[in-house]
Homo-oligomer: 337 residues x 2
Amino acid sequence: MDDRKRRILDFIIQDYVATAVPVGSRTITRKYDIGVSPATIRNEMSDLEALGYLDQPHVSAGRVPSVKAYRLYVDDLIARADSLLAPDEEAWRYFAGRLTQLEDAAQCAAKALSELTRMTSVVMMPSQPDMRITTLQLVPMPKGAALLVMVTDSGLVRETVLRVSDSLDADALYAISRSMTETLSGRSVLEVQHMLDAFAARGGAQQRVLDGIRELASQMARQASEDTVFLEGTHNILNFPEYAEVSKARSFLSVMEDRKRLLGIIRGDQELITVRIGQELTLPEIDDCSLITVRFELGAYHGLLGVIGPMRMPYRQTLRTLTTISRSLTDMFASEE
Amino acid sequence: MDDRKRRILDFIIQDYVATAVPVGSRTITRKYDIGVSPATIRNEMSDLEALGYLDQPHVSAGRVPSVKAYRLYVDDLIARADSLLAPDEEAWRYFAGRLTQLEDAAQCAAKALSELTRMTSVVMMPSQPDMRITTLQLVPMPKGAALLVMVTDSGLVRETVLRVSDSLDADALYAISRSMTETLSGRSVLEVQHMLDAFAARGGAQQRVLDGIRELASQMARQASEDTVFLEGTHNILNFPEYAEVSKARSFLSVMEDRKRLLGIIRGDQELITVRIGQELTLPEIDDCSLITVRFELGAYHGLLGVIGPMRMPYRQTLRTLTTISRSLTDMFASEE
DNA sequence: GTTAGCACTCTTCCTTGGTGAGTGCTAACA
DNA sequence: TGTTAGCACTCACCAAGGAAGAGTGCTAAC
């Protein structure tokens, strides 16, 4: 494939991404000064089609990039990764808001991504199978209640409200907290859950507290073993002419509902950047969509940021936004812990 | 309006709610055994139209209930409120999941509502202008961090992660927590926010903690003065043939984005049940929708649960679901505090 | 190797006529 | 007086038939 073919292919991708309309030979000469006539372009396009880089919806329509064309384009984009390193200023500013906890950060990132890209964003927090408890603390609440707060070594926080005896003041709650922390800190959430399951029916004064710990531990254990996913901006899909039919939009949305399925697809991604184009996504209902995922680091583990949109998506800009947010997430966790 | 007219009107509403297709005179005789011929029904329908209870999309279509008809139907439904008192078993079971905090409960209720009704749900938590701080507590976290937890008298909890000196162990953090609580407890969040604004640039060892408190206080103050809204299931609108055009669906969704506008409409509702039908909603973009809100109690204040869907909605079932969830929310808060 | 010209294809949009659901009116009937 | 059958009429809906336009492939000339 010579240079001119390559340039024409790039023009077609660029134009189709922008307009969603099949690109004809005249359109190219009108919009992009390539120095040859439509007829020549036609010959080249004919060659490109033979090579498998272009599809023709029907004989009298323009050409549309094939999966192979997007693949070429994206692989090239990733190879010249330096162009993606320049941070996306808008994304930086957008995501500068203050974040407190892991989940906040993930949800916040998902929201930022979906608003910046105007597509659907997905964030996978990594599973942390060996997460250990560092602190348990009871915080007094009004009317005989207390907030049980559980903190793990990875900075995950969970809390629940308990009913406790009115006779317990702040100091008493703190004393209990200390002894609980002493007993349980350093143990994994799974271990704690099993320990307390054994105690379950023991009864007694502090039963409610134990139940609370057990509940939190099991919540955390669940979260520790399964990766969790956040989705935002699912209904941005309506902005794309590809999804102008409600039935298509609905099928897209119902695919998005099934988070386990999505998770199953992206879970294994180890590369810094993974791009799945069209059928590569292995979601037949939305085989005209693409999914880009970018890794971020969270201690020893890694999570994924992703964007789902039509196959015809602005790959370059989307990748920049993704890498920018991914980098700031990685930095944030690195500094916080 | 005599009894037979009323019965015919009810049939038309019932059928139109179920099918979204204008109801003709023959349809009525076929589906509902009313004992008279289509011609008679036609005469009655003609009368009902003259009375303003029916509309006719065009001359050779069946009839469609008017706003006035829905109004009559709904007012009647509310008047015979006892029929709504029977709790919706499915809703009960669905909503039986354990809840920890106010926001959790609200969000959870919103989710349950949208899934049960298959429409868009809205939950408004009440503003609590005189909310006061009861506890401030620092919980140790790994790597020189601490979780600052703030609890108010109404049971609202907020927390944020702070960086603190490594030299502070659990006991030291507790000592700080005690003195903070002593100083600030009983004060309103607004007061605290202003106090700390004055101190802002003071610097010093505990500056980070003070900043944390200030931030939380201002978050809470914002929440205390503004009511907060949760929306769920916005894209359920796609399930209705009325919104089969993507452009309509999009305009619905963009109305839903503007929470302040929604809030402005429902904020003032004092009744136990408020039903806004069609234009009564004063949202011209979606003037073929209805909004039902039901009050729930939260201490001295009240919040609202609502469902938004097409004007042609199953009012009776929706009201039952709403009142059931509302009652269980009210109960939950009453017992918890 | 490039370009102009031309016949050809096929989608899109508009028009047109047929079909059927539903109505309103009138006249007959109980 | 209320109910019913019959009938002409209206109008949305749908399928079929062009006309227009965009785009192609091929051929022949530059």
